[in-house]
């Protein structure tokens, strides 16, 4: 089985979010970048398939040279090879087009994406890849098993979960649950050393539209200070919730 894991390179979850250039660009100054957490669950699941079922795992990112450490990390975790498409990932559709092209050329059986990336939270790339290629698609996956050419998948739904089956090729949007957090891999020394010898191919992008454009960023307006209520005066809290906030 050939697996492609799509990796988004995102600010670490503790990052302070700031903008520059007249609030038109994300300020990367002092920001640590990581593998998008939703993708990390998918990557670990892919490595599991590699170890248990002999799958071949390629990781891919659409991004500039600055994203290579993130791909190297994925290689150190165990991916067999990496691809970087040398373009700025400014629009979900543009990114999906690039990825779909590689998938078509490489005939991947399983494409694992995160259900969304934690920077723009678009949640559009996995579905768009599937739509562009006519592949089966299952989103918000919390469990994935593959037997020959068919997959059994559990996805989260509002207030529960749903089990379904589909044949390969399949695209999934994954999240926590694909593996447990304690099973996430941290690159060890051996992994880091062998990652250096693994192939990281750089491809130039194909022509594709940007359908959307981030014009400007804003930060939420700072809110007024918290109103503290004494623990001995909870009637006041009830009254504030009723009369002032009007939520009860």
């Amino acid at each position: 089985m050939k697996i492609l894991v799509c990796i988004s390179h995102v600010p670490d979850t503790t990052s302070k979010i700031n903008f520059t250039n007249g609030d038109s660009e994300f300020d990367t100054n002092g920001v640590q970048f990581v593998i998008n957490p939703n993708d990390e669950f998918g990557l670990t699941r892919a490595i599991w398939f590699q170890e248990q079922q002999g799958a071949n795992v390629t990781v891919i990112n659409v991004g500039g040279p600055d994203t290579e450490p993130t791909l190297r990390k994925a290689l150190a975790i165990g991916a067999n090879e990496a691809i970087r498409i040398n373009a700025k990932p400014t629009d979900g559709f543009f990114v999906a087009k690039q990825l779909a092209e590689v998938i078509k050329q490489g005939q991947y059986d399983l494409v694992i994406c995160g259900k969304e990336s934690l920077d723009y939270n678009g949640g559009m790339v996995p579905g768009m890849i599937a739509g562009l290629l006519g592949y089966n698609f299952i989103n918000s996956c919390i469990d994935l098993k593959v037997d020959g050419s068919s997959a059994k998948v559990i996805r989260e739904i509002d207030g529960g979960k749903e089990t379904s089956s589909a044949s390969l090729p399949l695209v999934i949007g994954g999240q926590k649950g694909l593996v447990e957090e304690k099973d996430l891999r941290i690159p060890n020394m051996r992994g880091i050393m062998t990652a250096r010898t693994k192939a990281l191919t750089v491809l130039e992008p194909i022509d594709a539209n940007n359908n959307t454009k981030a014009v400007k960023f804003e930060k939420p307006t700072p809110k007024s200070a918290v109103k503290l209520v004494s623990a001995d005066n909870l009637d006041e809290l009830v009254s504030l919730l009723h009369n002032e906030a009007k939520v009860i």
Partner: protein, 322 residues
């Protein structure tokens, strides 16, 4: 022209988000000088939509669509949009709608943006404000394609009534076998409990509650308020509560009217998931807990004393005000 919404229903009845979507769409349609068409799938009584400004319903009734299927539902919406010549399609942000939206966008060669939190800032060029960076910032996005798909963030617009005269038309989109390649085998739903997705109020507990045996406190408060229960990440990691209750950047987003956090420190990743809630109440023994910086109301003290008292007070309040 026209503007299309997909009015989601479950077991024949509209979800509340369908009405929020209609309210929002009505306003957008006005600014575009057009009307609102809703497509519905196996909804029994569509007349309710007229209260929120929908002008026309394309009513799909089909047993094959009895359970949700992203590809088939996307195909229905796409064909409805084509039939109506819709230039703007608005979807909600339920798990199902987020799932099908990119398929609709690709099918219509439309630009798509999710997490939209307000009316278009301008319709030419078409610009909307959306949440980004896990609710730590907003991003103004411009959609340049002829057809546009918007995903409206939950509770970001609210319900606005406006009467319209509704016309209804039966609609039978053509579905192909490939639409059903993903086969649903089993659905497990929690019944009889308010879920985070549907709740107006969420009561959430953190590691400060010390152990799963103390969750009765959280549940009793939630029951009085008709709220759903939730938790911080370590609580679900420790197995005190199910993963489905974990809220935050890597868990579920919560955009409720009222969010009550008990014994939760307010780490940046937790706050990212609850930022869009309107009113936040924090109960924490540590006056320096970061959660107090983002809260509207706070009580400093021991949750084990405060929560039972608050539950009692709210019970009395509800008894007097119901």
């Amino acid at each position: 022209m026209s503007l299309l919404i997909y009015a989601e229903s479950a077991e024949g009845k509209f979800k509340k988000v369908a009405f929020e979507l209609a309210s929002y769409a009505k306003k957008v349609a006005e600014s575009l000088g057009t009307t609102v068409t809703a497509v519905t799938v196996n909804a029994s009584d569509v007349s309710e939509l007229s209260k929120y400004g929908v002008d026309k319903v394309l009513k799909v009734t089909n047993d094959k669509l009895a359970t949700f299927n992203a590809k088939a539902f996307a195909d229905v919406i796409k064909q409805a949009a084509q039939k109506e010549g819709a230039r703007v399609i608005v979807l909600s942000s339920t798990t199902d709608s987020i799932y099908l939206a990119p398929l609709v966008a690709v099918g219509l060669e439309a630009g798509y943006t999710s997490n939209v939190v307000g009316l278009p800032l301008s319709t030419s060029p078409f610009q909307v404000k959306r949440n980004a960076f896990s609710n730590k910032a907003f991003n103004i996005t411009e959609i340049s394609t002829d057809i546009k798909v918007l995903g409206l963030a939950k509770n970001s617009y609210g319900l606005v009534e406006s009467t319209s005269t509704l016309s209804t038309e039966d609609f039978s989109p053509s579905l192909n076998d490939a639409d059903f390649n993903v086969k649903v085998e089993n659905v497990e739903k929690v019944t009889g409990k308010v879920t985070i997705a549907d709740a107006e109020v969420v009561v959430s507990g953190g590691r400060g509650l010390k152990g799963p045996e103390n969750w009765g406190l959280v549940e009793e408060l939630a029951t009085v308020l008709g709220a759903a229960t939730a938790c911080s990440k370590p609580v679900s990691d420790l197995g005190w509560r199910p993963h489905s209750e974990h809220v935050g950047q890597t868990g579920k987003p919560v955009a409720t009217n009222l969010y009550i956090a008990i014994g939760i420190s307010g780490a940046i990743q937790h706050i990212a998931g609850i930022n869009s809630s309107k009113v936040k109440v924090v109960i924490n023994s540590d006056p320096e807990a970061p959660f107090f910086k983002v809260a509207d109301y706070g009580v400093v003290g021991d949750a084990f004393e405060i929560v039972p008292k608050l539950t009692q007070k709210l019970k009395e309040f509800k008894a007097q005000n119901s």
